[in-house]
Symmetry: C2
Subunit: 249 residues, 2 copies
DNA sequence: GTCGGTTGTCTATAATACTAGACAAATAAT
DNA sequence: ATTATTTGTCTAGTATTATAGACAACCGAC
Protein backbone atom coordinates (compact mmCIF):
# COMPACT_ATOMS: atom_id res chain seq x y z
CA UNK A 1 0.00 0.00 0.00
CA UNK A 2 2.90 2.35 -0.54
CA UNK A 3 1.05 4.03 -3.39
CA UNK A 4 4.17 4.81 -5.38
CA UNK A 5 5.03 3.13 -8.65
CA UNK A 6 8.18 2.64 -10.60
CA UNK A 7 8.76 3.22 -14.31
CA UNK A 8 5.91 5.72 -14.52
CA UNK A 9 8.11 8.60 -15.66
CA UNK A 10 7.78 10.28 -12.28
CA UNK A 11 10.84 9.89 -10.08
CA UNK A 12 10.25 8.04 -6.83
CA UNK A 13 11.44 10.99 -4.75
CA UNK A 14 8.90 13.24 -6.46
CA UNK A 15 6.06 10.77 -5.95
CA UNK A 16 7.04 10.56 -2.29
CA UNK A 17 7.26 14.34 -2.00
CA UNK A 18 3.82 14.70 -3.60
CA UNK A 19 2.43 12.03 -1.30
CA UNK A 20 3.80 13.70 1.81
CA UNK A 21 2.60 17.11 0.65
CA UNK A 22 -0.86 15.68 0.06
CA UNK A 23 -0.82 13.97 3.45
CA UNK A 24 0.03 17.28 5.11
CA UNK A 25 -2.79 18.98 3.22
CA UNK A 26 -5.05 16.15 4.25
CA UNK A 27 -4.50 16.94 7.89
CA UNK A 28 -2.08 14.17 8.74
CA UNK A 29 1.00 15.35 10.57
CA UNK A 30 -1.06 17.99 12.33
CA UNK A 31 1.26 17.36 15.25
CA UNK A 32 3.73 19.39 13.21
CA UNK A 33 6.22 16.60 12.72
CA UNK A 34 7.11 14.21 9.93
CA UNK A 35 8.09 10.59 10.62
CA UNK A 36 11.83 9.96 10.60
CA UNK A 37 13.61 9.37 7.32
CA UNK A 38 14.12 5.74 8.24
CA UNK A 39 10.42 5.27 8.98
CA UNK A 40 9.42 6.92 5.70
CA UNK A 41 11.93 4.81 3.78
CA UNK A 42 10.37 1.70 5.29
CA UNK A 43 6.84 2.90 4.60
CA UNK A 44 7.51 3.68 0.93
CA UNK A 45 9.90 0.75 0.58
CA UNK A 46 12.74 2.82 -0.86
CA UNK A 47 16.22 3.80 0.18
CA UNK A 48 16.63 6.51 2.78
CA UNK A 49 18.47 8.68 0.25
CA UNK A 50 15.37 8.70 -1.92
CA UNK A 51 13.28 9.89 1.01
CA UNK A 52 15.90 12.51 1.77
CA UNK A 53 15.62 13.81 -1.77
CA UNK A 54 11.84 14.07 -1.39
CA UNK A 55 12.16 15.93 1.91
CA UNK A 56 14.80 18.23 0.43
CA UNK A 57 12.36 19.12 -2.35
CA UNK A 58 9.62 19.87 0.20
CA UNK A 59 12.08 21.98 2.18
CA UNK A 60 12.91 23.98 -0.97
CA UNK A 61 9.19 24.55 -1.42
CA UNK A 62 8.96 25.75 2.16
CA UNK A 63 6.52 23.01 3.12
CA UNK A 64 8.78 21.47 5.78
CA UNK A 65 11.87 22.40 7.73
CA UNK A 66 14.43 19.89 8.83
CA UNK A 67 17.08 20.13 11.56
CA UNK A 68 19.89 17.68 12.03
CA UNK A 69 19.41 15.51 15.08
CA UNK A 70 15.89 16.76 15.68
CA UNK A 71 13.82 15.73 12.70
CA UNK A 72 11.61 17.34 10.11
CA UNK A 73 8.85 19.78 11.04
CA UNK A 74 5.82 20.81 9.01
CA UNK A 75 5.66 24.56 8.33
CA UNK A 76 2.13 25.74 9.15
CA UNK A 77 0.28 26.75 6.01
CA UNK A 78 -2.76 28.77 5.29
CA UNK A 79 -5.46 28.02 2.77
CA UNK A 80 -7.86 30.63 1.52
CA UNK A 81 -11.51 29.92 0.80
CA UNK A 82 -12.88 31.71 -2.22
CA UNK A 83 -16.67 31.93 -2.20
CA UNK A 84 -18.55 31.48 -5.47
CA UNK A 85 -22.09 32.75 -5.58
CA UNK A 86 -24.33 35.32 -7.18
CA UNK A 87 -22.16 38.12 -5.80
CA UNK A 88 -18.72 36.71 -6.44
CA UNK A 89 -16.00 39.38 -6.20
CA UNK A 90 -12.34 38.71 -5.69
CA UNK A 91 -11.32 41.17 -3.01
CA UNK A 92 -14.57 41.15 -1.09
CA UNK A 93 -14.71 37.36 -1.11
CA UNK A 94 -11.38 37.08 0.63
CA UNK A 95 -12.17 39.82 3.13
CA UNK A 96 -11.45 38.80 6.67
CA UNK A 97 -9.23 35.93 5.61
CA UNK A 98 -6.28 38.01 4.50
CA UNK A 99 -4.89 41.46 5.17
CA UNK A 100 -4.67 42.58 1.56
CA UNK A 101 -6.38 41.12 -1.50
CA UNK A 102 -5.71 42.78 -4.84
CA UNK A 103 -6.00 42.03 -8.53
CA UNK A 104 -3.31 43.36 -10.82
CA UNK A 105 -3.78 43.92 -14.53
CA UNK A 106 -0.96 42.10 -16.27
CA UNK A 107 -2.12 42.63 -19.82
CA UNK A 108 -4.93 43.76 -22.06
CA UNK A 109 -5.64 43.67 -25.76
CA UNK A 110 -8.44 43.83 -28.27
CA UNK A 111 -9.45 40.74 -30.16
CA UNK A 112 -12.42 39.41 -32.07
CA UNK A 113 -14.89 36.98 -30.56
CA UNK A 114 -14.70 33.36 -31.54
CA UNK A 115 -17.90 31.38 -31.86
CA UNK A 116 -18.04 30.28 -28.23
CA UNK A 117 -17.34 33.68 -26.72
CA UNK A 118 -19.80 35.39 -29.06
CA UNK A 119 -22.53 32.97 -28.01
CA UNK A 120 -21.67 33.37 -24.32
CA UNK A 121 -21.75 37.15 -24.42
CA UNK A 122 -24.65 37.20 -26.93
CA UNK A 123 -22.65 39.20 -29.44
CA UNK A 124 -22.39 38.76 -33.19
CA UNK A 125 -19.56 36.51 -34.39
CA UNK A 126 -16.24 38.32 -34.75
CA UNK A 127 -17.49 41.14 -32.55
CA UNK A 128 -14.62 43.17 -31.07
CA UNK A 129 -13.73 42.11 -27.54
CA UNK A 130 -11.65 43.57 -24.78
CA UNK A 131 -9.43 40.93 -23.22
CA UNK A 132 -8.02 41.63 -19.74
CA UNK A 133 -5.54 39.39 -17.99
CA UNK A 134 -5.33 39.72 -14.23
CA UNK A 135 -3.39 38.25 -11.37
CA UNK A 136 -5.13 37.85 -8.02
CA UNK A 137 -2.95 38.14 -4.93
CA UNK A 138 -3.58 37.88 -1.22
CA UNK A 139 -0.95 39.21 1.16
CA UNK A 140 1.49 39.26 -1.71
CA UNK A 141 0.96 35.60 -2.56
CA UNK A 142 -0.44 34.93 -6.03
CA UNK A 143 -3.68 32.95 -5.86
CA UNK A 144 -5.13 33.06 -9.34
CA UNK A 145 -4.61 34.30 -12.84
CA UNK A 146 -7.54 35.03 -15.06
CA UNK A 147 -8.56 36.13 -18.52
CA UNK A 148 -11.69 38.27 -18.85
CA UNK A 149 -13.54 39.22 -22.02
CA UNK A 150 -15.89 42.20 -22.43
CA UNK A 151 -17.80 43.74 -25.30
CA UNK A 152 -15.26 46.23 -26.63
CA UNK A 153 -17.95 48.60 -27.87
CA UNK A 154 -19.94 48.77 -24.67
CA UNK A 155 -16.86 48.96 -22.41
CA UNK A 156 -14.42 50.93 -24.53
CA UNK A 157 -13.00 52.79 -21.52
CA UNK A 158 -12.64 49.76 -19.31
CA UNK A 159 -8.86 49.40 -19.37
CA UNK A 160 -8.34 53.05 -18.47
CA UNK A 161 -10.96 52.74 -15.74
CA UNK A 162 -9.19 49.69 -14.37
CA UNK A 163 -5.96 51.65 -14.32
CA UNK A 164 -7.64 54.30 -12.17
CA UNK A 165 -9.77 52.07 -9.98
CA UNK A 166 -7.68 48.93 -9.61
CA UNK A 167 -10.54 46.47 -9.73
CA UNK A 168 -12.92 45.11 -12.31
CA UNK A 169 -15.95 45.80 -10.15
CA UNK A 170 -15.09 49.48 -9.81
CA UNK A 171 -13.96 49.76 -13.43
CA UNK A 172 -17.33 48.38 -14.54
CA UNK A 173 -19.06 50.85 -12.25
CA UNK A 174 -17.15 53.65 -13.96
CA UNK A 175 -18.49 52.28 -17.27
CA UNK A 176 -22.06 52.48 -16.07
CA UNK A 177 -22.52 48.96 -14.70
CA UNK A 178 -23.14 49.57 -11.03
CA UNK A 179 -24.01 45.96 -10.30
CA UNK A 180 -23.60 42.53 -11.79
CA UNK A 181 -24.26 38.93 -10.83
CA UNK A 182 -22.56 35.64 -11.52
CA UNK A 183 -24.82 33.57 -13.72
CA UNK A 184 -22.71 30.47 -14.31
CA UNK A 185 -19.49 28.89 -13.12
CA UNK A 186 -17.91 25.74 -14.47
CA UNK A 187 -15.10 24.18 -12.51
CA UNK A 188 -12.49 21.68 -13.52
CA UNK A 189 -8.90 20.94 -12.63
CA UNK A 190 -5.68 20.12 -14.41
CA UNK A 191 -1.96 19.96 -13.83
CA UNK A 192 -0.36 23.38 -13.78
CA UNK A 193 1.16 24.50 -17.07
CA UNK A 194 4.49 26.27 -17.38
CA UNK A 195 2.74 29.62 -17.49
CA UNK A 196 0.78 28.71 -14.36
CA UNK A 197 3.95 27.79 -12.54
CA UNK A 198 5.53 31.07 -13.52
CA UNK A 199 2.66 33.43 -12.73
CA UNK A 200 1.49 31.65 -9.58
CA UNK A 201 4.92 30.62 -8.30
CA UNK A 202 3.97 26.94 -8.31
CA UNK A 203 6.17 23.91 -8.09
CA UNK A 204 6.29 21.32 -10.85
CA UNK A 205 3.55 18.78 -10.24
CA UNK A 206 1.23 21.41 -8.81
CA UNK A 207 -2.46 21.49 -9.70
CA UNK A 208 -4.70 24.35 -10.76
CA UNK A 209 -8.44 24.77 -10.34
CA UNK A 210 -10.00 26.06 -13.56
CA UNK A 211 -13.19 28.05 -13.66
CA UNK A 212 -15.17 29.40 -16.59
CA UNK A 213 -17.68 31.95 -15.47
CA UNK A 214 -20.11 34.48 -16.85
CA UNK A 215 -21.30 37.66 -15.18
CA UNK A 216 -24.42 39.53 -16.23
CA UNK A 217 -25.92 42.90 -15.44
CA UNK A 218 -29.10 43.05 -13.31
CA UNK A 219 -31.17 42.81 -16.51
CA UNK A 220 -29.57 39.43 -17.18
CA UNK A 221 -27.49 40.60 -20.11
CA UNK A 222 -24.08 38.93 -20.12
CA UNK A 223 -21.27 41.45 -19.75
CA UNK A 224 -18.21 39.45 -18.83
CA UNK A 225 -16.81 36.00 -19.60
CA UNK A 226 -13.86 34.84 -17.53
CA UNK A 227 -11.49 31.94 -17.25
CA UNK A 228 -9.60 31.74 -13.97
CA UNK A 229 -6.82 29.46 -12.85
CA UNK A 230 -6.42 29.07 -9.08
CA UNK A 231 -3.44 27.58 -7.27
CA UNK A 232 -5.17 24.48 -5.92
CA UNK A 233 -2.88 24.12 -2.93
CA UNK A 234 -3.71 27.61 -1.70
CA UNK A 235 -7.38 28.01 -2.56
CA UNK A 236 -10.62 26.20 -1.83
CA UNK A 237 -13.64 27.22 -3.86
CA UNK A 238 -16.79 27.45 -1.80
CA UNK A 239 -20.21 27.25 -3.40
CA UNK A 240 -22.64 28.96 -1.12
CA UNK A 241 -26.38 28.57 -1.65
CA UNK A 242 -26.87 32.31 -1.37
CA UNK A 243 -24.79 35.18 -0.21
CA UNK A 244 -25.88 37.14 2.82
CA UNK A 245 -27.11 40.68 2.17
CA UNK A 246 -27.66 40.16 -1.52
CA UNK A 247 -29.57 42.70 -3.56
CA UNK A 248 -31.22 40.00 -5.61
CA UNK A 249 -34.61 38.44 -4.96
CA UNK B 1 8.67 28.52 -24.30
CA UNK B 2 8.75 24.75 -24.44
CA UNK B 3 7.34 24.59 -20.92
CA UNK B 4 9.22 21.46 -19.92
CA UNK B 5 12.03 21.42 -17.40
CA UNK B 6 14.83 19.06 -16.60
CA UNK B 7 15.84 17.75 -13.20
CA UNK B 8 12.38 18.26 -11.76
CA UNK B 9 11.85 14.61 -10.92
CA UNK B 10 9.41 14.21 -13.77
CA UNK B 11 10.81 12.50 -16.84
CA UNK B 12 10.81 14.60 -19.99
CA UNK B 13 8.65 12.10 -21.84
CA UNK B 14 6.02 12.33 -19.11
CA UNK B 15 6.06 16.13 -19.08
CA UNK B 16 5.63 16.07 -22.84
CA UNK B 17 2.82 13.53 -22.59
CA UNK B 18 1.09 15.65 -19.95
CA UNK B 19 1.55 18.76 -22.06
CA UNK B 20 0.10 17.13 -25.16
CA UNK B 21 -2.80 15.68 -23.17
CA UNK B 22 -3.52 19.11 -21.74
CA UNK B 23 -3.29 20.69 -25.19
CA UNK B 24 -5.82 18.19 -26.49
CA UNK B 25 -8.11 18.94 -23.57
CA UNK B 26 -7.61 22.62 -24.26
CA UNK B 27 -9.05 22.24 -27.72
CA UNK B 28 -5.82 22.33 -29.71
CA UNK B 29 -5.53 19.49 -32.21
CA UNK B 30 -9.26 19.63 -32.80
CA UNK B 31 -8.39 18.74 -36.37
CA UNK B 32 -7.85 15.27 -34.94
CA UNK B 33 -4.16 15.09 -35.70
CA UNK B 34 -0.97 15.53 -33.74
CA UNK B 35 2.12 17.18 -35.25
CA UNK B 36 4.74 14.75 -36.51
CA UNK B 37 7.26 13.30 -34.09
CA UNK B 38 10.00 15.38 -35.69
CA UNK B 39 7.97 18.57 -35.27
CA UNK B 40 7.20 17.80 -31.64
CA UNK B 41 10.85 16.96 -30.96
CA UNK B 42 11.80 20.36 -32.36
CA UNK B 43 9.07 22.14 -30.42
CA UNK B 44 10.06 20.62 -27.08
CA UNK B 45 13.74 20.64 -27.96
CA UNK B 46 14.27 16.96 -27.18
CA UNK B 47 15.21 13.86 -29.09
CA UNK B 48 12.60 12.20 -31.23
CA UNK B 49 12.84 9.05 -29.11
CA UNK B 50 11.73 11.05 -26.10
CA UNK B 51 8.70 12.30 -27.99
CA UNK B 52 7.99 8.75 -29.12
CA UNK B 53 7.97 7.59 -25.51
CA UNK B 54 5.49 10.35 -24.65
CA UNK B 55 3.23 9.41 -27.55
CA UNK B 56 3.48 5.74 -26.63
CA UNK B 57 2.28 6.59 -23.12
CA UNK B 58 -0.67 8.55 -24.51
CA UNK B 59 -1.47 5.65 -26.83
CA UNK B 60 -1.49 3.27 -23.83
CA UNK B 61 -3.93 5.64 -22.15
CA UNK B 62 -6.10 5.59 -25.25
CA UNK B 63 -5.75 9.32 -25.80
CA UNK B 64 -4.15 9.01 -29.23
CA UNK B 65 -3.70 6.37 -31.90
CA UNK B 66 -0.69 6.19 -34.12
CA UNK B 67 -0.22 4.44 -37.48
CA UNK B 68 3.10 3.94 -39.17
CA UNK B 69 3.51 6.10 -42.22
CA UNK B 70 0.37 8.10 -41.51
CA UNK B 71 0.88 9.88 -38.23
CA UNK B 72 -0.79 10.16 -34.84
CA UNK B 73 -4.49 10.81 -34.45
CA UNK B 74 -6.38 12.14 -31.42
CA UNK B 75 -9.07 9.78 -30.16
CA UNK B 76 -12.26 11.80 -29.63
CA UNK B 77 -13.08 12.08 -25.94
CA UNK B 78 -16.15 12.98 -23.99
CA UNK B 79 -16.37 15.15 -20.93
CA UNK B 80 -19.33 15.09 -18.61
CA UNK B 81 -20.68 18.18 -16.88
CA UNK B 82 -21.87 17.62 -13.34
CA UNK B 83 -24.22 20.35 -12.12
CA UNK B 84 -23.93 21.57 -8.53
CA UNK B 85 -26.86 23.42 -7.12
CA UNK B 86 -29.59 23.25 -4.54
CA UNK B 87 -30.92 20.04 -6.09
CA UNK B 88 -27.68 18.21 -6.79
CA UNK B 89 -28.22 14.51 -7.49
CA UNK B 90 -25.78 12.24 -9.23
CA UNK B 91 -27.89 10.32 -11.71
CA UNK B 92 -30.36 13.08 -12.48
CA UNK B 93 -27.56 15.59 -12.98
CA UNK B 94 -25.98 13.51 -15.70
CA UNK B 95 -29.29 12.76 -17.39
CA UNK B 96 -29.20 13.41 -21.09
CA UNK B 97 -25.41 13.40 -21.23
CA UNK B 98 -24.95 9.65 -20.80
CA UNK B 99 -26.98 6.53 -21.36
CA UNK B 100 -26.57 5.10 -17.88
CA UNK B 101 -25.50 6.84 -14.67
CA UNK B 102 -25.32 4.76 -11.52
CA UNK B 103 -23.77 4.87 -8.08
CA UNK B 104 -22.52 1.65 -6.59
CA UNK B 105 -22.05 1.06 -2.89
CA UNK B 106 -18.50 -0.18 -2.43
CA UNK B 107 -18.46 -0.19 1.36
CA UNK B 108 -20.24 0.84 4.52
CA UNK B 109 -19.40 0.88 8.20
CA UNK B 110 -20.35 2.50 11.46
CA UNK B 111 -17.99 4.95 13.08
CA UNK B 112 -18.10 7.75 15.61
CA UNK B 113 -18.14 11.39 14.64
CA UNK B 114 -14.98 13.43 14.96
CA UNK B 115 -15.21 17.04 15.99
CA UNK B 116 -15.60 18.41 12.47
CA UNK B 117 -18.25 15.95 11.33
CA UNK B 118 -20.23 16.35 14.55
CA UNK B 119 -20.29 20.11 14.08
CA UNK B 120 -21.24 19.80 10.42
CA UNK B 121 -24.13 17.43 11.09
CA UNK B 122 -25.05 19.19 14.35
CA UNK B 123 -24.63 16.02 16.37
CA UNK B 124 -22.98 15.54 19.73
CA UNK B 125 -19.29 14.64 19.63
CA UNK B 126 -18.64 10.92 19.20
CA UNK B 127 -22.17 10.41 17.93
CA UNK B 128 -22.51 7.18 15.94
CA UNK B 129 -22.31 7.72 12.20
CA UNK B 130 -23.09 5.64 9.16
CA UNK B 131 -20.30 5.88 6.60
CA UNK B 132 -21.11 4.91 3.00
CA UNK B 133 -18.54 4.74 0.24
CA UNK B 134 -19.85 4.96 -3.29
CA UNK B 135 -18.52 4.89 -6.80
CA UNK B 136 -20.27 6.95 -9.45
CA UNK B 137 -20.20 5.61 -12.99
CA UNK B 138 -21.52 6.82 -16.33
CA UNK B 139 -21.77 4.35 -19.18
CA UNK B 140 -19.49 2.04 -17.24
CA UNK B 141 -16.76 4.64 -16.83
CA UNK B 142 -15.98 5.59 -13.22
CA UNK B 143 -16.40 9.33 -12.67
CA UNK B 144 -16.22 9.81 -8.93
CA UNK B 145 -15.75 8.09 -5.63
CA UNK B 146 -17.30 9.50 -2.52
CA UNK B 147 -17.63 9.03 1.21
CA UNK B 148 -20.94 9.96 2.84
CA UNK B 149 -21.75 10.29 6.53
CA UNK B 150 -25.21 10.10 8.10
CA UNK B 151 -26.58 10.13 11.63
CA UNK B 152 -26.59 6.41 12.44
CA UNK B 153 -29.55 6.74 14.78
CA UNK B 154 -31.82 8.62 12.45
CA UNK B 155 -30.90 6.54 9.38
CA UNK B 156 -30.33 3.11 10.86
CA UNK B 157 -31.86 1.29 7.90
CA UNK B 158 -30.06 3.30 5.24
CA UNK B 159 -27.60 0.67 4.06
CA UNK B 160 -30.34 -1.91 3.59
CA UNK B 161 -32.48 0.68 1.81
CA UNK B 162 -29.57 1.52 -0.48
CA UNK B 163 -29.22 -2.17 -1.27
CA UNK B 164 -32.86 -2.26 -2.36
CA UNK B 165 -33.07 1.12 -4.06
CA UNK B 166 -29.63 1.58 -5.55
CA UNK B 167 -29.34 5.30 -4.87
CA UNK B 168 -28.88 7.56 -1.90
CA UNK B 169 -31.80 9.76 -2.85
CA UNK B 170 -34.22 6.81 -2.90
CA UNK B 171 -32.65 5.23 0.17
CA UNK B 172 -33.19 8.47 2.06
CA UNK B 173 -36.77 8.57 0.84
CA UNK B 174 -37.24 5.08 2.26
CA UNK B 175 -35.95 6.45 5.57
CA UNK B 176 -38.52 9.21 5.59
CA UNK B 177 -36.56 12.01 3.93
CA UNK B 178 -38.53 12.66 0.79
CA UNK B 179 -36.51 15.73 -0.15
CA UNK B 180 -33.21 17.39 0.62
CA UNK B 181 -31.15 20.32 -0.61
CA UNK B 182 -27.47 21.05 -0.99
CA UNK B 183 -26.49 23.72 1.50
CA UNK B 184 -22.76 24.00 0.92
CA UNK B 185 -20.10 22.74 -1.45
CA UNK B 186 -16.38 23.36 -1.17
CA UNK B 187 -14.22 22.52 -4.12
CA UNK B 188 -10.52 21.98 -4.36
CA UNK B 189 -8.18 19.89 -6.46
CA UNK B 190 -5.14 17.70 -5.94
CA UNK B 191 -3.08 15.09 -7.69
CA UNK B 192 -4.76 11.70 -7.72
CA UNK B 193 -3.70 9.34 -4.96
CA UNK B 194 -3.02 5.66 -5.45
CA UNK B 195 -6.53 4.83 -4.30
CA UNK B 196 -7.96 7.36 -6.75
CA UNK B 197 -6.01 5.84 -9.59
CA UNK B 198 -7.27 2.40 -8.69
CA UNK B 199 -10.96 3.19 -8.18
CA UNK B 200 -11.26 5.69 -11.00
CA UNK B 201 -8.91 3.95 -13.44
CA UNK B 202 -6.68 7.00 -13.69
CA UNK B 203 -3.18 7.32 -15.05
CA UNK B 204 -0.28 8.47 -12.89
CA UNK B 205 -0.15 12.24 -12.96
CA UNK B 206 -3.91 12.53 -13.18
CA UNK B 207 -5.81 15.12 -11.17
CA UNK B 208 -8.94 14.83 -9.04
CA UNK B 209 -11.53 17.45 -8.17
CA UNK B 210 -12.39 17.29 -4.47
CA UNK B 211 -15.71 18.42 -3.06
CA UNK B 212 -16.93 18.60 0.51
CA UNK B 213 -20.66 19.06 0.64
CA UNK B 214 -23.53 19.09 3.07
CA UNK B 215 -27.15 18.21 2.36
CA UNK B 216 -30.03 19.23 4.59
CA UNK B 217 -33.69 18.33 4.82
CA UNK B 218 -36.27 20.97 3.85
CA UNK B 219 -36.27 22.18 7.46
CA UNK B 220 -32.59 23.04 7.09
CA UNK B 221 -31.37 20.25 9.35
CA UNK B 222 -28.12 18.73 8.03
CA UNK B 223 -28.57 15.09 7.19
CA UNK B 224 -25.58 14.19 5.05
CA UNK B 225 -21.93 15.18 4.81
CA UNK B 226 -20.00 14.00 1.78
CA UNK B 227 -16.55 14.10 0.33
CA UNK B 228 -16.33 13.31 -3.36
CA UNK B 229 -13.36 12.84 -5.64
CA UNK B 230 -14.02 13.37 -9.36
CA UNK B 231 -11.75 12.35 -12.23
CA UNK B 232 -10.82 15.84 -13.40
CA UNK B 233 -10.17 14.81 -16.97
CA UNK B 234 -13.66 13.39 -17.34
CA UNK B 235 -15.81 15.76 -15.31
CA UNK B 236 -16.53 19.48 -15.24
CA UNK B 237 -18.40 20.79 -12.22
CA UNK B 238 -21.02 23.36 -13.12
CA UNK B 239 -22.32 25.82 -10.57
CA UNK B 240 -25.74 26.93 -11.64
CA UNK B 241 -27.33 30.00 -10.04
CA UNK B 242 -30.52 28.07 -9.43
CA UNK B 243 -31.97 24.86 -10.67
CA UNK B 244 -35.14 24.96 -12.67
CA UNK B 245 -38.23 23.68 -10.84
CA UNK B 246 -36.73 24.00 -7.39
CA UNK B 247 -38.94 23.80 -4.34
CA UNK B 248 -37.00 26.49 -2.57
CA UNK B 249 -37.82 30.21 -2.51
C1' DG C 1 5.65 1.87 -59.49
C1' DT C 2 7.99 5.76 -57.46
C1' DC C 3 8.60 9.25 -54.23
C1' DG C 4 8.25 12.27 -50.13
C1' DG C 5 6.93 12.07 -45.70
C1' DT C 6 6.03 9.54 -41.59
C1' DT C 7 6.44 5.99 -37.92
C1' DG C 8 9.13 1.60 -36.27
C1' DT C 9 13.41 -0.56 -34.77
C1' DC C 10 18.09 -1.09 -33.77
C1' DT C 11 22.77 0.11 -31.66
C1' DA C 12 25.61 2.86 -28.71
C1' DT C 13 26.67 6.41 -25.28
C1' DA C 14 25.89 9.85 -21.66
C1' DA C 15 23.24 11.75 -17.95
C1' DT C 16 20.19 11.08 -14.20
C1' DA C 17 17.87 8.41 -10.55
C1' DC C 18 18.02 4.76 -7.17
C1' DT C 19 20.21 1.57 -3.99
C1' DA C 20 23.62 0.15 -0.49
C1' DG C 21 26.55 0.81 3.31
C1' DA C 22 29.36 3.35 6.47
C1' DC C 23 30.24 6.96 9.44
C1' DA C 24 30.06 11.98 11.02
C1' DA C 25 27.40 15.62 13.36
C1' DA C 26 23.71 17.47 15.85
C1' DT C 27 19.81 17.01 19.25
C1' DA C 28 17.47 15.72 23.34
C1' DA C 29 17.03 12.94 27.25
C1' DT C 30 19.23 10.60 31.15
C1' DA D 1 29.12 13.36 30.28
C1' DT D 2 26.92 9.57 28.17
C1' DT D 3 23.64 7.58 25.25
C1' DA D 4 20.05 6.77 21.85
C1' DT D 5 18.03 8.94 18.09
C1' DT D 6 18.09 11.51 14.07
C1' DT D 7 19.86 14.06 10.10
C1' DG D 8 24.18 15.06 7.05
C1' DT D 9 27.83 13.43 3.98
C1' DC D 10 30.61 10.40 1.42
C1' DT D 11 31.70 6.46 -1.88
C1' DA D 12 30.32 3.08 -5.12
C1' DG D 13 27.40 0.20 -8.05
C1' DT D 14 23.00 -0.58 -10.72
C1' DA D 15 18.87 0.82 -13.24
C1' DT D 16 16.34 4.10 -15.73
C1' DT D 17 16.10 8.00 -18.76
C1' DA D 18 17.76 10.83 -22.63
C1' DT D 19 20.56 11.59 -26.75
C1' DA D 20 22.43 10.42 -31.36
C1' DG D 21 22.40 8.34 -35.73
C1' DA D 22 21.13 5.02 -39.20
C1' DC D 23 17.96 2.54 -41.65
C1' DA D 24 13.64 -0.28 -42.36
C1' DA D 25 8.58 -0.31 -42.98
C1' DC D 26 4.54 1.87 -44.16
C1' DC D 27 1.09 5.34 -46.08
C1' DG D 28 -0.72 8.37 -49.45
C1' DA D 29 -0.22 11.00 -53.63
C1' DC D 30 1.50 11.33 -58.20
Amino acid sequence: MSGIERRTGVALWRQIADDIRAAIGNGDHDDGRLPTEAALAARFDVNRHTVRQAIAALAREGVVETVQGRGTAVVPRRRVTYPIGARTRFSAGLGGQVATAVTRLIGSLRETANEELAATLRLSPNAPLLRLETLGEADGVPLSRAVHWFDAERFSGLVEAYGREGSITRALAACGVSDYVRVSTEISAAPATGADREDLALQPGAVVLLTRSVNADPQGRPIQASRSRFAADRVTLSVAPDEPATDLP
